[in-house]
């Protein structure tokens, strides 16, 4: 019995991936370590990100209509398969908690300094729990409206900030050591592009599985191009300060001042953050809940939505001690920590499946 009866179109998948990739990228600007060369780090990272997407979509194409948990059971057997699945579920759970944490820290620092962080976390978690409860179809339909609005708002922000841009701020190109550029681009490939590996829990529900890969590529590519545009805009407006600010996208929007009338537009960036963060948390949350329900062979994933959400809030509350640690992890630890989940698990599973000639037609592929 399938735990998810909903189906999404390949177009909805692309849009959902765009929302997912924007997710925390509004807060932790990708490629920031490369200073004004951030756009280049993102472009290189996008290439590596597409390679990661190629690997996990190859696995999904090989086992059409199966989530990673089901694939692991087929490829490695019940015990080892479930063990690997639990590791992947931990990654999704941790990813959700990290984004929640980023989210609450941003709101606490910039918008609601007097509101307790716990309350912010509980409120967003309740919204995400509601969407996860309604299934992947509802999430995908939400993405069509909200991602379109976010892209329109990003274009609006950019147009208003044009008078403050100085393209000389992008020069000299390749001003940082090549090693640092490569590391930053790898970090960008892992976060945000590689995080799309979470869609291994969603690709099974695309109505035309053969279009899954192109939908993932389109989503990653469009999100990457928008992020490159945002990085160029931020560097052109902020110059050398781009690398110093904690939230450059937010600061860039603060610069907007049209005749002393249209000011404080940065709230639009905060709205983008709230809506896109919702997608990233929800997809990770959905994957963790669905995966755990499949590991324990439950008849429905709905009974465990709230307890997992509560645990995610607790992890988000206790995750890191301060914002500096959060950024340190995003720039140094995370690019290494996620390699097993984003690259090793899908790649090794694909290779083992090929070696074992799985799935066998009419055999144990079910």
């Amino acid at each position: 019995m399938s735990l998810e009866n909903g189906k999404i179109s390949s177009f909805q998948l692309s849009v959902l991936i765009i929302g997912f990739i924007f997710g925390a990228s509004v807060i932790i600007a990708p490629g920031q370590g490369a200073g004004h060369d951030a756009w280049m780090a993102i472009a290189l990272g996008l290439t590596e990100g597409l390679l990661i997407a190629w690997i996990f979509t190859a696995l999904a194409r090989h086992f059409k209509g199966k989530t990673l948990v089901e694939i692991n059971s087929l490829v490695y057997g019940k015990i080892l398969g479930n063990f690997i699945s639990v590791l992947f579920i931990w990654y999704l759970f941790h990813l959700g908690a990290l984004v929640l944490n980023n989210y609450s820290r941003f709101l606490e620092l910039e918008l609601y300094p007097a509101t307790p962080k716990t309350l912010t976390l509980i409120l967003i978690m309740l919204v995400c729990a509601s969407s996860v409860r309604r299934g992947i179809e509802v999430l995908a339909r939400c993405s069509l409206i909200l991602v379109t609005l976010t892209i329109l708002m990003a274009i609006f922000d950019t147009l208003l900030v044009v008078p403050h841009m100085d393209l000389h701020n992008l020069l000299p190109i390749l001003d940082i050591p090549i090693g640092k550029l490569l590391w930053t681009s790898h970090a960008t490939a892992i976060f945000p592009f590689g995080d799309a590996v979470a869609f291994l829990m969603v690709l099974a529900f695309v109505n035309k599985p053969e279009k899954g890969r192109s939908a993932v590529f389109k989503g990653v590519l469009i999100a990457g191009l928008v992020l490159i545009g945002v990085a160029v805009r931020n560097a052109a407006v902020l110059g050398q300060m781009n690398a110093i600010y904690t939230y450059p996208t937010y600061i860039t929007a603060q610069v907007i001042d049209v005749g002393d009338v249209l000011t404080r537009v940065e709230v639009l960036v905060a709205i983008n953050l709230i809506t896109m963060g919702f997608f990233k948390i929800s997809v990770a949350y959905y994957g963790a809940v669905l995966g755990l329900a499949q590991v324990f062979n439950l008849r429905s994933y709905r009974p465990i939505i709230l307890p997992i959400g509560i645990l995610m809030v607790i992890l988000a509350l206790t995750n890191v001690s301060n914002t500096a640690e959060m950024f340190d992890f995003a720039n140094n630890g995370y690019p290494i920590y996620t390699i097993p989940f984003q690259i090793a698990i899908p790649l090794i599973t694909l290779l083992v499946a090929k070696l074992r000639k799985l799935p066998q037609i009419g055999g144990d592929q079910a």
Partner: protein, 69 residues
Amino acid sequence: MSALVLIGFGIVALMQIPGLVQKQWWRELICFVLLWSMGLVFSLMVSMGITLPPLTTIINETITGMLGI
């Protein structure tokens, strides 16, 4: 604060458990109770001011320490 936590967890339990018992979904009930209990214990610890280890910081320090980043 702890009283609020207990009330919140009580509401969650009331929302889920009767339905699961009625349907006789015992496996789902066990799973729910296990996760719910973990959440309750950790939430009570946080509400009582007990500091839980910052997992992400530990992971970060382990990785950066091992690789000398």
